[in-house]
């Protein structure tokens, strides 16, 4: 019997080539996209998924800022020490700090780029690294020890047996490999290749004027601190204890939220939530999951619509089977078998497409996504999705096909077969989805456009910047003069940080009224007298640094800092940074020194004539010659190092690259979903036009024009689209609000976006429908009447 079902299914597939091809194409595309989205979502959700991830937390700091709280993903050095020594619920506490000290590593004559980090040695236990070479007890035993991952050892030495071998950093400092561990997962926050001892940082405290040791430095938020608990349920208790310790020991205790100084963030949430646990990327994941649902629904709707619409073609066969003695159960089974066969075919084609398009997908997402159908969990997800859509889309058509009275059907009395209302409902749902997706695309692209074109409060055009090397910095004044003389360079300035994303912070500030209230954490930035004019920043009050010795006790605050301190008429008022007393000489208009996902925080600019980062305003002409000249100067001071520079414009765009990629992905998925939707609509209208052949024939004989026939066939869809728009607009408004929450600066959700999405859908649908409608209208009516 089963063989018979498959035989019939296969022959039907070949017989109705047009409709089946439409269905199959739509289904295959939808399944392909669905698989990609599942892989993407799974990858986003499996960030930091170490076996013991449930017990590992990042310690975020809750800092008082004005009247509010800011939560940072970083913490001070003592937190880990106290957590490890004084809190019994903590199994391991580990600090990590990315290594920015060295640029280049070399083994013999070969140079390498390696991502390095300073870590506490328990890092390897917490993240369960297997020791591939070396003795675990000797890992990072001193400041000259490093531990490598296996693939890094292979890269540097061609073997994992690298213990005892040496690596030179920046051609000066020699490090000895004391251990090799297995690689860390790429999809994690600790994906480094080389690990340095924290002793390097510890040693810098020897002559520190403010803090006696790294373990006593409560002022600098230099580390990402991870704690592994014996039991994840204890995180609140641990937080309480940490808060108590902080309040008791930190001289700046009042900087923190007094009842909850920290937030213990589960590490698998670090990529999708802010350090304070506020949803960030998770909204994008949710939106993509909705897109996944939409695409699959569209494909299922297509299948249901086309198979029920064509049910009348199968009535004869079903009736005969019933008359001969087939029971409803066996007929249901037959049609479900057909659906399973059809969906399986689509799934096989989709798998082929997934393999074919994986490289392109990886490029768009810039992720090394591993698509392996043999991977248990992934194939289980695919199988579940597959089963659900089969059940959803095969049962209804099967019931329709088996429900009619056999003799009526045989004699062509199909009144009970039309099921037009359900089909209309399903088409409306498809339109709802289309309108939603179009609105989504429009809002996302507008937001990205808004971010990249928003005036950040400074002029970033043609500004080149780079980090000076030590030897260059030793001759900063001369270097500055030489740079100024390069043709095409109109201004040169030094500052301590990148202006695009300045993540520095300190609570080491004071002002006249600060001991009573309003303590705050600020972003400090050392600049010279040329910085504000070069960046074309606006001073709202007071004046710029003059480049004279008294500037060392002058401060320029941004508007937010003035507001948060509550200082009235700030010019000339006292201010203190890093315990250096001085006065406020200027107020600079707020500018964005972090991603637009963040609000502008308080910033204090102080004077330092020769810091490490160089900013040059260049002219648009002859940029290449300017860069060559710069490089020549660089080589004079630092012949061994490559000259790395960037333009602010490019860095700014790079900062939003991830969002841009998400936007692109959404855009692609949307148009594919709409295409699949149109395929279904096309099939449906082709079928409707065929059914109405006779009616159209009679109307034409009676004098109907092509336009009137087209209108007849299109009118119905127009009404459905209007209904769909009414449903889709509030839903998409809500979803887009949700997505925009990730950004501190949001494009307005204008009413015309929603209206135009409706119009675009209408246009696409009418274009699809009218192709068939016009064809039907142009057909020779006599022929249609005769063939009926």
């Amino acid at each position: 019997m089963f063989k018979n079902y498959i035989k019939i299914a296969w022959r039907n597939l070949l017989k109705d080539k047009f409709y089946n091809l439409i269905s199959l194409l739509g289904l295959t595309i939808a399944l392909t996209i669905a698989m990609f989205i599942i892989v993407w979502v799974k990858s986003e959700l499996s960030y930091n998924s170490f076996i013991n991830h449930e017990n590992i937390f990042r310690i975020s700091s809750n800092i008082q800022s004005g009247d509010g709280i800011q939560t940072w993903g970083v913490s001070t050095g003592p937190v880990a020490t106290y957590a490890q020594n004084d809190i019994p619920e903590v199994k391991h506490a580990v600090r990590l700090r990315e290594n920015y000290s060295y640029r280049t590593y070399s083994v013999g004559d070969h140079k390498f780029d390696i991502r390095g980090a300073y870590v506490d040695v328990d890092f390897f236990d917490m993240f369960q690294r297997k020791v591939i070479a070396g003795n675990r007890d000797m890992f990072l035993k001193d400041a000259r020890s490093v531990v490598l991952t296996a693939s890094t050892a292979e890269k540097l030495f061609g073997t994992t047996k690298a213990v005892g071998k040496t690596i030179k950093a920046d051609f000066e400092d020699l490090f000895t490999v004391t251990g090799v561990v297995n690689d860390l997962p790429e999809n994690s926050s600790v994906n480094y290749e080389m690990f340095f001892s924290l002793d390097i940082i510890r040693n810098t405290y020897v002559n520190n004027p403010y803090w006696k040791s790294m373990e006593a430095d409560w002022g600098n938020f230099n580390f990402i601190t991870y704690v592994e608990l014996y039991d994840s349920q204890h995180h609140k208790k641990v937080n309480k204890k940490l808060t108590y310790i902080q309040q008791a020991n930190d001289p700046n205790a009042e900087l923190f939220k007094s009842d909850k100084a920290y937030y213990l963030q589960p590490i698998n949430q670090m990529n999708l939530y802010s350090p304070g646990g506020i949803p960030q990327g998770i909204n994008t994941v949710k939106i993509f999951s909705i897109v996944l649902f939409i695409i699959l629904s569209i494909a299922c709707i297509n299948y249901v619509n086309l198979s029920t619409a064509r049910a009348s073609r199968r009535t004869k066969e079903v009736s005969i089977r019933k008359i001969i003695g087939a029971q409803k159960k066996s007929l249901l089974l037959q049609f479900i078998t057909e659906s399973v066969l059809f969906f399986s075919l689509a799934a096989i084609l989709a798998i082929v497409l997934v393999y074919a398009f994986t490289p392109a997908f990886k490029e768009i997402t810039a992720k090394d996504l591993n698509i392996n159908f043999l991977d248990g969990s992934l194939s289980l997800i695919f199988l579940c999705v597959f089963l659900i859509i089969i059940i959803v889309s095969s049962i209804y058509p099967a019931f329709i096909l088996t429900s009619f009275k056999p003799l009526l059907a045989i004699k062509g009395n199909m009144s009970g077969m039309s099921r037009g209302n359900l089909r209309k409902l399903l088409v409306t749902i498809q339109f709802v989805f289309s309108v939603m997706l179009i609105i989504g695309t429009m809002v996302i692209s507008r937001q990205l456009e808004y971010i990249t074109s928003k005036n950040p409060g400074y002029d970033r055009t043609q500004v080149l910047n780079f980090w000076m090397s030590n030897s260059m910095q030793n001759h900063a004044a001369t270097v500055k003069e030489r740079l100024k003389n390069i043709p095409g360079v109109s201004a040169v300035s030094f500052a301590s940080n990148p202006i695009i994303n300045n993540t520095n912070s300190t609570g080491d500030v004071a002002w006249d009224s600060s001991r009573e209230k309003n303590e705050m954490v600020v972003t400090p930035m050392a600049i010279d007298e040329d910085f504000i004019p070069l960046m074309k920043m606006k001073l709202n009050a007071g004046e710029n640094f003059k480049g004279i010795s008294t500037d060392s006790t002058h401060y320029i605050l941004n508007e937010t800092a003035v507001k948060l301190t509550g200082i009235k008429n700030p010019i000339g008022k006292n201010f203190e940074l890093y315990e250096r007393k001085g006065t406020i000489i200027g107020v600079v208009e707020d500018f964005n020194f972090k991603s637009l996902k963040n609000d502008i925080g308080p910033m204090v600019m102080y004077y330092e004539p020769h810091t490490y980062r160089v900013y040059l305003k260049t002219s648009e002409e002859n940029t290449a010659a300017t860069i060559t000249a710069l490089e020549n100067i660089w080589k004079e001071y630092t012949p061994d190092f490559e000259f790395n520079y960037s333009f602010l414009d490019a860095s700014y765009e790079k900062m939003y690259l991830n969002d841009k990629r998400t936007g692109e992905l959404f855009y692609i998925f949307t148009w594919i979903a709409i295409f699949v939707s149109c395929l279904g609509l096309f099939g449906l209208t082709t079928y409707t036009a065929q059914l109405k052949k006779r009616e159209i024939g009679i109307r034409k004989v009676l004098g109907a024009s092509v336009f009137q026939v087209t209108r007849l066939l299109s009118k119905e869809y127009l009404i459905l689209i209007l209904i769909a728009a009414v449903i889709a607009i509030p839903i998409s408004w809500y979803l887009m609000q949700l997505w925009l929450q990730d950004f501190a600066y949001q494009t307005p959700l204008n009413w015309w976006i929603f209206i135009s999405a409706g119009i675009i859908t209408l246009f696409i649908a009418l274009a699809t429908v009218s192709f068939q409608a016009i064809k039907a209208g142009l057909a020779n009516p006599v022929k249609n009447l005769r063939t009926d």
Partner: protein
């Protein structure tokens, strides 16, 4: 074999009730060949559907081999149908997607006959109907007469006790029509009961008895030849 008493069937729309069968009673003996005649709309086809358990009567009694089947549910009806009744239609009603062999095989599949036996029985009946050479062809590749022979083969392959024929020659020319009628007569000679709805006086003459209907009621009954009960022969 069949006894109907005061059988009623009416169709109801929102406003009108149409009576298709009006208190109809008659009996058909096992091995008999009965024709039902009458103008279009007189209720012949409705009667055939009820007799074939494809439709429910609204009233009256229907005894099939002594069992009251008027109130049977769909499952019981399908079961009775597949083991006891074969159908032949005016428009052949073969499944276009199946070959001649597969069409004839279908009733055997639904009655759960094993594949080897199915093959044997289908071949046997196709030989008998003289269309063995066409077994791999699809319905559209056959003439009307051939299609109807396949339909008859399908109707008899399960060796049913009763064959219901709805204008079996209606779509055939006279020579093909005669062939089909000869086939039915042969089947009847082997003991199969046949009830045939027809417009053709010529075809009706092949039967033992003609029941004439009008407006859902029996008008007259003509006995054409004496019916003698013969034992049913297995095909």
């Amino acid at each position: 074999m069949i006894k109907i008493t005061d059988l009623e069937k009416f169709y109801r729309t929102e406003e009108v009730q149409t009576i298709a069968i009006n208190k109809l009673s008659f009996e058909v003996k096992e091995g008999e060949f009965v024709s039902v005649m009458g103008p279009s709309g007189c209720g012949k086809s409705t009667l055939l559907n009820i007799l074939g358990l494809l439709d429910d009567p609204n009233g009256g009694s229907y005894l099939f081999n002594g069992t009251e089947v008027a109130g049977f549910n769909e499952r019981k009806r399908a079961n009775l149908r597949k083991h006891n009744i074969g159908f032949v239609f005016q428009s052949f009603n073969l499944i276009d997607e199946l070959s001649v062999f597969e069409n004839v095989e279908l009733p055997l599949i639904y009655t759960g006959v094993k594949a080897a036996e199915r093959k044997e029985r289908v071949h046997e009946v196709l030989e008998k109907m003289q269309i063995m050479h066409r077994r791999k062809h699809f319905p559209q590749q056959l003439s009307g007469g051939q299609q109807q022979r396949v339909a008859v083969a399908r109707a008899v392959v399960n060796n049913p006790k009763l064959i219901l024929a709805d204008e079996p020659t209606g779509n055939l020319d006279s020579s093909n029509g005669n062939e089909v009628m000869d086939l039915l007569t042969e089947l009847n000679a082997t003991g199969t009961t046949i009830i045939m709805v027809t417009h053709s006086e010529h075809d009706a003459k092949y039967s033992h008895r003609i029941i004439r209907m009008l407006d859902g009621q029996k008008v007259t009954e003509n006995i054409l030849s004496e019916f003698k009960k013969r034992p049913k022969v297995e095909l």
